[in-house]
Amino acid sequence: MFKKPKRKLYALIFLLPTLAAFIVGFVYPFIRGIYLSFFKFQIVNKATFVGINNYIKAFKDESFLRSFWFTLAFVVVSVILINVMAFFIAYALTLNIRGSNVYRTVFFMPNLIGGIILGYIWHQIFDGLLRSMDMPSLVTNSDLGFWGLIILMCWQQAGYMMIIYIAGFQGVPHDLYEAAKIDGAKKTQILTKVTLPMMMPSITICTFLTLTNSFKLFDQNLALTGGAPLTDGIWTTRMMALNIYKTFYGEGISAKGVGQAEGVIFFLIVVVISLAQLYFTRRREVQA
């Protein structure tokens, strides 16, 4: 009778710092951001209401639409590649080969480097390679820019997802394998009928992480290609986040409001797509 409310009180006290940080760092700016997307402003304290004008302009903004399709293509390719790679690296590294711990560390390392730095380093690497083949820089060809981004992201993210998959592999109970072997299942059958279904929770997490990470990608995009090249007035390798940033700091007194509106639209897109993904992958999860 006496204990319960006290515990609740403690819980609240311990929650407070995080909650405060969450409100200051997320909730407030988020609400303010949505609010500002209906305004025209240069600094946030001096805003004039413009209704849904910003949204109309955002949907008319060709570069915004183009960046959506580019981002979507990037997301599809990178989510598949990163997860397939991470899955098989994890599979290989749980086979009890010598030095697997060293490999795990090596594959994980790229995650510890910041995106901007990675972007510049890879820019140099790609340009050096291209130069040795007497080809022009990455920033002059949008296909090269696209695949450059994909390679960079695979290299960086595969290691992180690998760790999650390794945990998943280790979580599959051994008696299931034993039972499958006794029933005469082949190696591929064990993989598809036992391992994969048991790994669904890891797959859910990993697809979710890669999906949202790829959608929101900014640093690597900025540092690797910066959106170049420009074809017919469109920055062909500009992803949505970078495009919003450029719109926000563009010329004209309505630029900031439009950028804000694009940010809100962007948020909705990411939420809808990632919730849909969670729903579909969760459905395939099984209980052991």
Binding site: Q42, I43, V44, N45, K46, K57, H123, Q124, D127, R131, D134, M135, P136, S137, L138, V139, T140, N141, G226, A228, P229, L230, T231, D232, G233, W235, K246, Y249, G250, E251, G252, I253, S254, A255, K256
Partner: protein, 449 residues
């Protein structure tokens, strides 16, 4: 008794505060009056300067300290990282302690920040200007910005190497003074390139790098020339739709830069500004398109005044024999109109001190290598500035800085990207034209929305 005194004091204070609030309101709206200075008390104010030029940061910090020592008025100087001024200014302006002194780069920048700029008509610093042309006016004709530094750019050359060329047997131009047109410049550059081993150089021009540390030399500064000649023909100073009359000339000079170069065309996309600078300092190239702000870097690198010269950028347009260097400014001081009256007054006095006092003018001329357009300016020791003065005295017409009317950063980036692709061979010149002409129109429209 005590209580009544306290109460009276409280009422008095409250009244004072209201009066203060009211006066600050009226001060803000009627600052165009001649006595705008009196609205605030400088000794109670403070100055917060958001500086644009990273290379002068140290000099500004020092000058600010000296000013504080002399007057007791606090001056803080912050410098935005290269290429992020707009972003830094935006976020700083959102703060309670916003900059009292900031800068815009010309009419385009002003259109964005106009509501934040105090009317400077009648201020001391405005009166100190050597020519009222150095004031930046908004569309209503109000003075909102004061140019504080005049810079000059052109084709910097290594005099020793160029003289070596002139004396060699393959040279068809025998005197540096004879280089007074695009055709002559091309002849010289081509001959240097052809005989680069004999001269001991890697190319006539330093690499025209299109990395962001260097691409502004071409997408902004070089692009000024076709705009300048078009404006001159049409007798205008800005336009919503550029025609691109001189884009063929722009192509000619760009072709020259990327062909007679120290490196292959395909390598230009990632070449940096410091690479070009090093090539020039080491004597690997004869020509280097850059400006008076490079003086410190090249002299620290070991080149002497006698090794240095600067040619106008000839593109084969207009009256080439009388063409001068490109001289102008994209640095205008603005005072934040939203600052308190005291702060505004303090800021006004600070910048006035910078350009009139002995310490201020000395620091600006010698520590920052600035040429400032104010009556009490000290002569700068900058060799490129001296060349500019000589050319102007000899009757050459300086090319004005019209790139301040370029529609946006995105426009410049667009032209830059197209130039990069053209140089790399992955794009056609038509793309440059498109980015230049069509891009101008769309970006100008955007800026109006």
């Amino acid at each position: 008794m005590k209580k009544t005194i306290k109460r009276l004091a409280a009422i008095g204070l409250a009244a004072l505060m209201t009066a203060g609030a009211l006066s600050s309101c009226s001060g803000g709206s009627s600052s165009s009056g001649t006595d705008s200075k009196k609205a605030g008390d400088a000794s109670k104010g403070k100055v917060y300067y958001l500086n644009f030029k990273p290379e002068q940061d140290k000099a500004w910090q020092k000058l600010a300290k000296e000013y504080t020592k002399e007057t007791g008025i606090k001056v803080s100087v912050q410098t935005a990282a290269e290429g992020t001024y707009e972003q830094t200014l935006t976020s700083e302006m959102n703060k309670d302690e916003a900059p009292t002194l900031f800068q815009v780069n010309g009419p385009v920048g002003l259109s964005k920040w106009n509501d934040f700029c105090m009317d400077l008509e009648g201020t001391d610093i405005y009166k100190q200007l050597t020519s009222k042309d150095f004031a930046l006016k908004d569309s209503d004709g109000k003075v909102k910005g004061i140019a504080y530094v005049i810079e000059t750019y052109g084709i910097i050359y290594n005099k020793t190497l160029l003289n070596k060329y002139c004396k060699s047997d393959f040279a068809s131009v025998k005197k540096i003074e004879d280089i007074n047109s695009f055709d002559k410049l091309k002849t010289v550059a081509d001959e240097i390139q052809k005989n680069k081993d004999k001269l001991g150089v890697k190319g006539a021009f330093t690499s025209a790098g299109m990395d962001s540390s260097s691409d502004w030399r071409f997408k902004t500064h070089l692009a000024n020339l076709p705009i300048y000649f078009e404006y001159k023909d049409d007798k205008i100073s800005d336009t919503d739709a550029i025609k691109g009359t001189y884009l063929d000339n722009y192509k000619k000079i760009w072709d020259l830069y990327i062909t007679d170069s120290t490196c292959k065309k395909t390598e230009l996309a990632s070449k940096t500004g410091s690479e070009a600078e090093t090539e020039f300092i080491k004597g690997n190239a004869v020509f280097f398109q850059n400006g008076s702000w490079e003086y410190d870097a090249v002299t620290k690198g070991g080149l002497k005044d006698k090794d240095l010269g600067m040619l106008p950028i000839y593109i084969g347009a207009g009256d080439e024999a009388n063409q001068g260097l490109c001289t102008g400014t994209e640095n205008y001081w603005c005072i934040n109109d939203n600052a308190s009256d005291d702060d505004k007054a303090a800021t006004e006095e600070f910048i006035n001190w910078c350009v009139t006092s002995d310490k201020g003018t000395d620091a600006m001329a010698n520590k920052m290598s600035f040429v400032i357009p104010f009556k009490k300016a000290k002569e700068s020791s900058n060799a490129f500035v001296k060349i500019d003065n000589e050319l102007t005295k000899a009757g050459k017409t300086p090319v004005s800085w019209n790139f301040t009317t370029m529609p946006s950063e995105d426009w410049k980036d667009g032209v830059g990207a197209a130039l990069t692709q053209y140089a790399a061979g992955t794009g056609k010149w038509d793309a440059v034209k498109k980015a230049f002409v069509d891009g101008w129109k769309t970006e100008k429209e955007k800026a109006k929305e």
